[in-house]
């Protein structure tokens, strides 16, 4: 795929990569560096920090993050470089000539500790009353450096009011240490650009455009900044108090749906290695907490595939057979609320390309307060519907005013994996050691296709399994149904599959090459949108976009920390779990068939399904009023 220059980030926020020779074996391809007493040879341009990490020498860091460009803001990673007048920030020092580095001299240790104490002198906050307590990089570093008093004082007067305007992200700038990870996340990684360092010198702080509340700027609620903030300055808007109250209330019937990604990651909150799914243990915990029912979001993921797949085929039919020019192709997926808000803000003229199908969370919300309420004989006004999601944007999504197809607020609360873990801890349970239990009926277990929605490429894979089989009457021609072309963490993946020997109903698709693109992270979404704008994607049929790097499993509601290794482990857990499931195609999920037969006999994309399972979008634009 042609590389498009879309990055708008300042050069200073880009990783500085001195051009290394293609082949490190050529002369000058490597440099010798002596770190402490160890001599090693590293590729030209490796930073001192990377070199240290290669040889297991520990250097404290605060502003550096694997997913982000070089910052060099916090100066905690100082080392002594022979011949340099001052100590140097190792994360921002590329090795381009032989060097002698000392990482733990008295001067280095003292400087680091002083920097830490200076950071703390302006850090307004008490650890016991902080969301990050126990999982805070600042706290950990203070401990590591042996800070045992506030050498430069400790400020206790709040300087900034807490910004609670957003449904998703809360900003408590008193706790901010100006590491600018959120800035680099929002501008570089996501290319949304809501946050920037404002002011100069001692007055520098992180703020939005014209210091507006976050809800009024173009924030897409992806929560990626939360996942990378090393302190408690950014956190999600936590509804657990309201949920606890609803659980206590005997008149309320509290149900929860759990999405696949938090199940694959919540173990990390309990000290497990990344990559262990605790789906069934979680069911037990949820029941013990006092939820009345626990449902599997994969059920509505399967519904999404039925609706979105039918919509796609209908669009293609209209375009190919009827020659309808008003039909918009390619069709975009609409299950990622961060992506939906991104396109509403930045490419509102392309909203017709977005599938009108609701996200699985919102479909389930509607169904719970209509179909389920009917079946169970419960008044929908007494149902409190919670959604356990890997995502902070889901909190915004469930508060969209149009999400009331059931006549009530379809989903009452979006809960993140972190908040669920907190609830489980508050209830005094150790999740990993709980017994296993199953999901509740009438929705039972979703299919494997629904499960892989959690990883980038998952929606595409699920859709292809169904669409291909619907059209040709055969399974997708891949071993064990694994469609490798859409798996993996490459930013933009493009592939195609040819439809041959199709069943008579779909004869117009004979020989058609179904083209699709998968992108994750809104920076990659932007690349795709720019290609579309340039008219290069005219022959593509279907595009899956997830707002978060890695897809939902890297969502803004997932356990902190995050990096590529952790995201890969979570993806592995999801793909492994899906192969153990009895049903791996959405259209083969018997609960789905039953649901349509009982509730929407006219089938997907019918009038009733449009009323309940589809939605519309708002042209927001990016102008900030």
């Amino acid at each position: 795929m042609k590389h498009l220059k879309t990055s708008r980030a300042p050069i200073s926020q880009k990783a500085y990569v001195p051009s290394a020779p293609e082949n490190v074996d050529t002369i000058g391809g490597t440099v010798t560096v002596q770190i402490n007493s160890k001599t090693m040879t590293v590729p030209f341009g490796t930073t001192i920090l990377e070199a240290c990490r290669m040889s297991d020498i520990y250097i404290p860091t605060l502003c550096a993050h694997e997913d982000l460009g070089i910052g060099g803001h916090c100066r905690l990673c100082l080392v002594d470089v022979e011949g340099m007048r001052t100590l140097q920030a190792s994360c921002a020092f590329p090795i381009t000539a032989p060097l002698k580095v000392k990482t733990s001299t008295i001067a280095v240790r003292k400087a680091r500790k002083h920097i830490m104490e200076l950071l703390l002198s302006e850090h307004v906050g008490e650890c016991y009353a902080c969301v990050k307590n126990g999982n805070c990089e600042l706290q950990d570093l203070a401990k590591e450096m042996g800070v045992d008093s506030y050498m430069f004082g400790h400020d206790n007067v709040s300087k900034y009011p807490v910004d609670r305007s957003s449904y998703s992200v809360i900003r408590d700038m008193d706790k901010c240490v100006n590491c600018r990870r959120c800035v680099r996340t929002c501008i570089d990684l996501q290319e949304v650009g809501c946050l920037e360092a404002i002011g100069r010198g001692a007055e520098t702080h992180i703020d939005t455009f014209m210091a507006k509340p976050l809800a009024e700027v173009v924030c897409i609620n992806c929560g990626q900044c939360i996942n990378r903030c090393p302190t408690g300055a950014l956190y999600a808007n936590d509804p657990s108090d309201e949920i606890w109250r609803a659980i206590e209330d005997p008149t309320k019937h509290v149900v929860i749906q759990t999405a696949p990604s938090p199940r694959a990651a919540i173990g990390e909150e309990f000290g497990l290695e990344p990559g262990i799914s605790l789906t069934k243990e979680l069911n037990t915990a949820i029941k013990r907490i006092g939820f009345d029912k626990v449902f599997d979001t994969n059920f509505t993921a399967d519904l999404t595939i039925m609706e979105e797949g039918t919509e796609l085929l209908t669009r293609i039919k209209k375009a190919v057979v009827d020659g309808d020019e008003s039909v918009k192709l390619p069709q975009f997926t609409s299950c990622s609320p961060g992506w939906v808000k991104y396109i509403e803000h930045f490419y509102p003229e392309y909203l017709d390309h977005l599938s009108s199908a609701k996200s699985p969370q919102q479909m389930f919300g509607t169904i719970i307060k209509t179909f389920y309420a009917e079946q169970a004989g419960i008044d929908p006004k007494d149902i409190v519907s919670v959604a356990l999601m890997p995502c902070s944007a889901k909190k915004f999504e469930c508060n969209r005013p149009e999400m009331d197809a059931s006549g009530y607020k379809d989903v009452d609360y979006g809960l993140t994996a972190r908040e669920m873990a907190m609830m489980i801890k508050e209830a005094g349970m150790k999740l990993p050691s709980l017994p296993k239990s199953d999901f509740d009926n009438p929705f039972g277990l979703g299919s494997g296709a629904g499960l892989i929605f959690g990883a980038t490429g998952g929606v595409m894979e699920a859709a292809l399994r169904t669409v291909y089989e619907l059209v040709t009457g055969r399974e997708v021609p891949f071993e064990k149904l694994r469609i490798e072309a859409v798996r993996g963490f490459e930013g933009v993946k493009q592939s195609s599959v040819v439809l041959e020997n199709v069943v008579p109903d779909w004869s117009f698709l004979e020989g058609v090459e179904l083209k699709f693109i998968v992108a994750h992270g809104t920076a990659n979404a932007k690349k795709v949108m720019e290609l579309l704008k340039a008219g290069e994607l005219y022959d593509v049929h279907f595009i899956e976009i997830m707002a978060c790097p890695g897809g939902c499993l890297g969502g803004g509601g997932q356990p902190v920390p995050t990096n590529e290794k952790i995201r890969k482990a979570r993806a592995k857990a999801i793909y492994a779990e899906e192969e153990t499931l009895p049903v791996r195609k959405s259209h083969e999920n018997s609960h789905v068939a039953e649901f349509y037969a009982k509730f929407i006999p006219e089938g997907p994309c019918s009038h009733k399904s449009h009323e309940l399972l589809h939605t519309h979008y708002t042209k927001r634009g990016k102008f900030i009023l």
Binding site: R8, G193, A197, F209, M210, V217, I624
Partner: protein, 157 residues
Amino acid sequence: MLVLEKNNLTEEIELFASQYDFHRTALMPLLEYIQEKYHHIPDFAQQEVARVLDIHPVEVYGVISFYSFLNDQPKGRNIVRLCRTIICDMAGKCQIEQAIERELGLKFGETSKDQKITLEFTNCLGMCDQGPAMIVNDRVYTKLDPEKACAILKEIK
């Protein structure tokens, strides 16, 4: 802002940026141009600058907040900046300050009601050997005494 004014501003910004091929390096000259002409850079202009140069509005705002001579809020047509750094302070900055405040009936940090004058402090002007010093708009005045300062301020329109 009226629609007409907005359209004019947009046109001006586009014209100005076109000299720089809409490259982001146009940011500083563009902001200085708007500041000089309108005495501040309103949020509408910031977003237009961002759109035209294809950067984020918050980045433009960040730059404006960094420089003392760029403002996002309206200020007076004339800005008086008195040096508050230690050398000027020792040379008698306080007397000048009091004299100016008395003369204009305005405190430092404020703008007169008729939008004529804004009083501000500034950090070192590099005129330490000739303090106390102040800048009125672009012009530097040195070796001030209270009478001289008041006389200078009487001159401005």
